[in-house]
């Protein structure tokens, strides 16, 4: 498994994966840099607790960046194997197909997790720079940085599934685009739609529910995708 992942890390070289891993969180925080740069005074008047208000502003764009990142990552990682149909080469090695699939999933989950860590660091950095009056709300900072990640796991599992088994790469791109649109209009979506979950909204106003749902349904979709991948003939 370790060697499989080393191979996958080698394959994503020069494909912009690391660049995107950094770009996502930078983009999300940069939007607030612009926001606070332009109208800091106004924004500070909006709330009693400036730190929390700042975190909420940040979190508006986190789900969007996550879902977009997932769509791009999954279709990139599948395209690396699809380009010269390297699946046949890979699967005719003495490896199990489950390992092949698990390795791809793990690589992407790692990259997105790194993105979340970076998001926390950048958020913290710019927050300190803004020098709010209140103390740093550490727990809230962690929540806003990592809850969306766990809540987005079902989207990752679903997109990876679609990207690896589709003969036509238009399919995952289309579902990816719809995913981004859904994530953008999360407040209008019913609670059961997985694209709503990274926004941490639900009718009970309890973000933890989205995290637990994300982990549970994420596992389920992952297993379904893996079994389907294993069952199919290799292109």
């Amino acid at each position: 498994m370790i060697s499989m992942m080393q191979t996958d890390f080698l394959k994503i070289k020069r494909k912009g994966f690391w660049f995107l891993t950094f770009l996502g969180p930078i983009g999300v925080v940069a939007l607030q840099m612009v926001n606070y740069g332009v109208r800091k005074e106004y924004l500070l008047q909006q709330s009693e607790n400036d730190w929390l208000y700042y975190l909420q502003n940040i979190s508006v764009f986190t789900p969007l960046a996550l879902v977009l990142g997932i769509a791009i990552f999954t279709s990139f990682i599948a395209s690396i194997e699809n380009e010269t149909n390297a699946w046949k080469q890979l699967i005719s090695l003495p490896v199990s197909k489950m390992m092949v699939y698990l390795s791809k999933f793990t690589i992407l989950a790692c990259l997105l997790f790194i993105s979340s860590i970076l998001l926390m660091l950048f958020t913290l950095g710019f927050g300190i720079f803004l020098s709010f009056d209140e103390a740093i709300p550490w727990w809230e900072l962690v929540k806003y940085s990592f809850y969306p990640y766990f809540a987005a796991l079902p989207v990752l599992a679903l997109q990876l599934w679609i990207a690896t088994v589709s003969k036509n790469q238009g399919v995952p791109i289309t579902t990816g685009i719809f995913g981004v649109i859904f994530a953008y209009s999360a407040y209008m979506l019913p609670d059961w739609m997985i694209w709503k979950w990274p926004s941490l909204m639900n009718q009970w106003d309890e973000p933890l529910i989205n995290v637990l749902l994300g982990l549970g349904v994420g596992c389920l979709l992952y297993v379904m995708g893996m079994l389907d991948f294993t069952r199919r003939d290799v292109k």
Binding site: E83, T84, K88, L90, D233
Partner: protein, 303 residues
């Protein structure tokens, strides 16, 4: 007799069509097995099943005496393959491409340099594969297939799309493998001449069915090349050879000799020379693969 590859009643169905039907393939150790058949005959489909890439609709596959369904990983550890077009990662260098496989296979790094040397790509090891010519990509594909020092090498139309010098090079390479490395080789092609120049055993498949499987010599006899002779006086030459009990025909100024053993041709030439006839040309009339298929399927139904 223990076979390296043995399939029994192997079939694969796509929708309504049977791409492979009741195939019984037998490959002994140390052979170069030529898997011959026109496009769409089911060669690639068969090879995909041998490699566990596709599940057979019915039938069994044993490689090294083990069932592929139960022992897939053990078997594949000793098999090298190149299926259809070579697979590679264009954004990586030749070395990195091999390294990506090596990490999974777990052979020493030294092996990368060895296989690069075998296919003569050492000089371009650190160049991205994106810029390689088709022949270089094909050779890289072969290098990949050799990386795990396989006991069985499966090459699906490895000379497809190569220029003549590339074809010769790969042919020479493949011929060396059984002796030098003790490998058994399965090589598919839709070209009779190609198989003719490499294989020791031949399996001919058409429309998913194996219609012939035997040594290359037996196939050559069956393929029955005719020899055509161009001589100064065709009519006279024809009578002379007929009078000596040979199976000859006389058509449009050419003498066609239907038994093409070396002795028979020598005898015919000797007779003509002794009769003071000038011989301008002695040529082998190659029969096309289609002709051979036709005659084989005819014989099938005749039996």
């Amino acid at each position: 007799m223990e076979y390296i590859v043995e399939t029994s009643n192997l079939s694969k169905r796509f929708g309504k069509d049977l791409a492979v039907e009741g195939l019984n393939m037998k490959i002994s150790k140390g052979e170069i097995y030529g898997f011959l058949g026109p496009n769409g005959a089911g060669k690639t489909t068969t090879i995909r099943m041998l490699l566990g890439l596709m599940k057979p609709t019915s039938g069994r596959i044993r490689i090294f005496g083990q069932d592929i369904k139960q022992q897939r990983k053990n078997i594949l550890a000793k098999v090298g393959s190149l299926v259809e077009n070579p697979s590679y990662y264009p954004h990586l260098t030749a070395y990195e491409n091999l390294e990506a496989l090596r990490k999974i296979i777990g052979v020493p790094k030294q092996r990368i340099y060895e296989v690069l040397e075998i296919v003569r790509l050492t000089e371009v090891a650190d160049k991205k594969v994106k810029g390689f010519s088709l022949g270089m990509k094909q050779r890289l594909g072969i290098a990949m297939s050799l990386l795990n020092q396989p006991q069985l090498l499966i090459l699906d139309e490895p000379t497809n799309g190569l220029d003549p010098s590339g074809i010769i090079e790969i042919r020479e390479l493949i011929k060396r493998l059984p002796e030098e490395f003790g490998m058994t080789v399965l090589i598919s092609s839709h070209l009779l001449t190609e198989i003719d120049q490499m294989a020791t055993t031949v399996g001919i498949v058409t429309k998913g069915k194996m219609i012939f499987q035997d040594s290359i010599e037996t196939m050559r006899t069956l393929a029955g090349h005719a020899i055509s002779l161009k001589v100064s006086q065709a009519e006279q030459a024809w009578r002379l050879l007929l009078a000596n009990g040979m199976k000859v025909e006389h058509e449009s100024g050419l003498i066609m000799l239907h038994e093409s053993s070396n002795e028979m041709v020598a005898e015919a030439v000797r007779l003509l020379v002794q009769a003071n006839l000038s011989i301008y040309r002695v040529e082998e009339e190659k029969r096309s693969l289609e002709d051979i298929f036709l005659s084989m399927t005819r014989e099938d139904s005749a039996v």
